[in-house]
């Protein structure tokens, strides 16, 4: 197992935001976190990369998170935050280089150059590689920051709403990138709001409500009419197709 969460809870002050979460992520899995706003998706992601304190056991491999230094953690997991806030006028290429440098790599080696070339190509960043990260579009910035995470070459990538701000073409492109990474043995934990996208991308879905896991399993097992109604308080229309289900919200309850 790459990541194991055993009975993990977290509080913001007096308010409990995560309650008894159990989760396992193995090699080559794409795990999707779904749930309404405030259900604890981002908090869970932050807890498992040590950004917020939590109770219970979080372990990478067999090593508990509490015994892993931040330096070591950067080799276990790369994280793409929800806030795409860059302070300085860095080029896209330089942002990618920061990912490599984070894990002790040198941007002057041929290995790095090859890796960067591949990531730039797979994320369609060729035309903006020399552009300022502050002047590219929201979607381009998302892809550049994801590229930075990929440069860390970690076995697990945690991405908080990676599709936010992406147009349909780039959403599908991202899906292909995730699938390719999965085939290479990289695992991903992503939070998503689009049920259809989540059902088609993820091998496992975890549905959260009020900081608790209400369902965990294959997309078909998790995304049922009843559960969507119960968790999201909307009715959903589910159409099964060869490419996977199309799940759209129909009406508020």
């Amino acid at each position: 197992m790459l990541l194991q969460l055993n009975n993990v809870s977290a509080n913001y002050g007096q308010r409990q935001v995560l309650s008894s979460i159990n989760l396992e992520i193995g090699r080559g899995e794409i795990v999707g976190l779904i749930g309404p706003n405030g259900s604890g998706k981002s908090t869970l992601m932050k807890a498992l990369v040590g950004l917020i304190p939590s109770c219970g056991e979080i372990s990478y491999g067999r090593q508990p998170l509490s015994s892993i230094s931040v330096k070591q953690l950067s080799r276990h997991v790369a994280y793409v935050a929800q806030e795409r806030d860059v302070a300085w006028d860095l080029t896209v290429e330089r942002v990618l280089a920061l990912g490599c440098e984070a894990v002790g790599g040198s941007v002057r080696t041929p290995k790095y150059k090859e890796q960067r070339k591949q990531i730039i190509k797979s994320l369609s960043l060729e035309t903006i590689r020399k552009s300022s990260i502050l002047q590219v579009s929201g979607g381009e910035k998302t892809r550049a920051l994801l590229g930075r995470a990929l440069m860390q070459k970690t076995p697990l990538i945690v991405a908080d709403e990676p599709t936010a701000g992406l147009d349909p073409e780039h959403q599908l492109e991202l899906s292909e990138i995730f699938q390719n990474l999965r085939e290479q043995g990289t695992s991903m934990l992503v939070s998503l709001h689009d049920w259809t996208y989540a059902a088609r991308l993820c091998t496992t879905l975890v549905m959260l409500k009020d900081g608790k896991v209400v369902a965990c399993g294959t997309p078909e097992q998790v995304l049922t009419q009843e559960r969507v109604q119960d968790v999201y308080r909307v009715s959903a229309q589910i159409v099964k197709t060869e490419q996977g289900p199309i799940i759209t919200p129909a009406a508020r309850l």
Binding site: E83, V86, A87, V158
Partner: protein, 332 residues
């Protein structure tokens, strides 16, 4: 390519600093020619020229370089740490606290019996401010609380300094306080440099190790954490480094503003906005700018009684205004 341009920038700034340092040694109440300077430097005998050189010119020029480098370097580090181009060493309250310590030393008259009480009081006061800062900012020391804590410490120190001025026992003490606060490199000796040297070395050491962490911090605090940067360690190095070095130079020179704010601005585009690559050039450019300002003070002559801190503020403020207008034009 960028490594070549960095090397060119660093070499150019080093050569300018060395030239200005030499010019600063030559200029003074009695100008010295280069041969005179070399003879005095190599002479084993005590001549009037060698006395002037070693007792007056060298400490002043060295202090100018060290102070400028400290202000430039700490400005670049704090702007990187707080992810804010308006950050400067004064923001964390260390400069005003060092000033308060110095003012207390003058106010109580202890400087009359112990000549080096002033820098020691100033250093102690800067140390207290640096220790208070993380306590006020809270355990996780978020950027905003860090800035607010700095502003609070700075305000308290300024208020107490004003109180000392207000209650000053005699006009001469008040005058001494005011003149000291305006900042100057005049009449400083090698002893002053010896007192602050350990603090400067520790401070610079802590500031220079922040580079890689500041680069990662460009992408946000959360991302930096997952890129292997220990934020508490980074904050400690930046704050303690600034407190030690800026506290030390302020303890000897008084308050000298704008260098720490302007220098990183001047150089940022030359290093492609990268915080780590900004550190050494900022230190060198700070040294250049402050030595240049001190040369200007010397050229105005002792009769003008112009203080270095006043000159840097007079030149720095309009320059900063120009930078803002330039940035505004770029945004339109």
């Amino acid at each position: 390519m960028k490594y070549t341009s960095d090397a060119v920038l660093i070499w150019a700034l080093s050569i300018i600093t060395a030239t200005l340092f030499l010019a600063s040694l030559m200029l003074g109440a009695a100008d010295l020619s280069l041969p005179q300077l070399i003879n005095a430097a190599l002479s084993t005998q005590d001549t009037p020229v060698s006395t002037v050189l070693w007792e007056i010119r060298v400490p002043r020029a060295l202090l100018g370089v060290i102070t400028g480098a400290t202000l430039g370097l700490s400005g670049a580090v704090l702007q990187g740490l707080l992810r804010n181009p308006l950050a400067e060493p004064g923001l964390i309250g260390v400069s005003s606290s060092a000033s308060l310590g110095a003012v207390i030393a003058i106010y109580t008259g202890i400087t009359l019996t112990m000549p080096f009480a002033l820098p020691i009081f100033a250093l102690a006061s800067a140390g207290i401010a640096a220790a208070l800062l993380p306590l006020l900012a809270g355990g996780r020391g978020q950027t905003l609380t860090l800035i607010l804590a700095g502003v609070a410490i700075s305000s308290i120190a300024t208020a107490l300094t004003s109180l000392a001025l207000n209650l000053s026992p005699n006009p001469f003490a008040a005058m001494e306080i005011v003149f000291w606060m305006l900042g100057s490199l005049n009449d400083r000796s090698m002893q002053h440099l010896y007192i602050i040297a350990p603090f400067i070395m520790v401070g610079w050491g802590l500031l220079f190790v922040t580079g890689k962490g500041l680069n990662a911090l460009s992408l946000g605090e959360e991302t930096a954490h997952t890129m292997g940067v220990s934020l508490p360690t980074l904050r400690f190095c930046a704050i303690a480094g600034t407190a030690a070095s800026v506290g030390a130079v302020t303890a000897v020179t008084g308050t000298i503003g704008f260098i720490g704010l302007i220098v990183p601005h001047l150089l940022r585009k030359m290093v492609d906005d990268e915080p780590a690559r900004l550190l050494l050039p900022s230190a060198l450019a700070g040294a250049c700018l402050l030595t240049l300002a001190d040369i200007a003070v010397k050229l105005f002559g002792p009769q003008s009684n112009l203080k270095l801190g006043v000159l840097t503020a007079l030149v720095g403020a309009p320059f900063f205004l120009w930078l803002i207008l330039k940035q505004r034009r770029a945004l339109i």
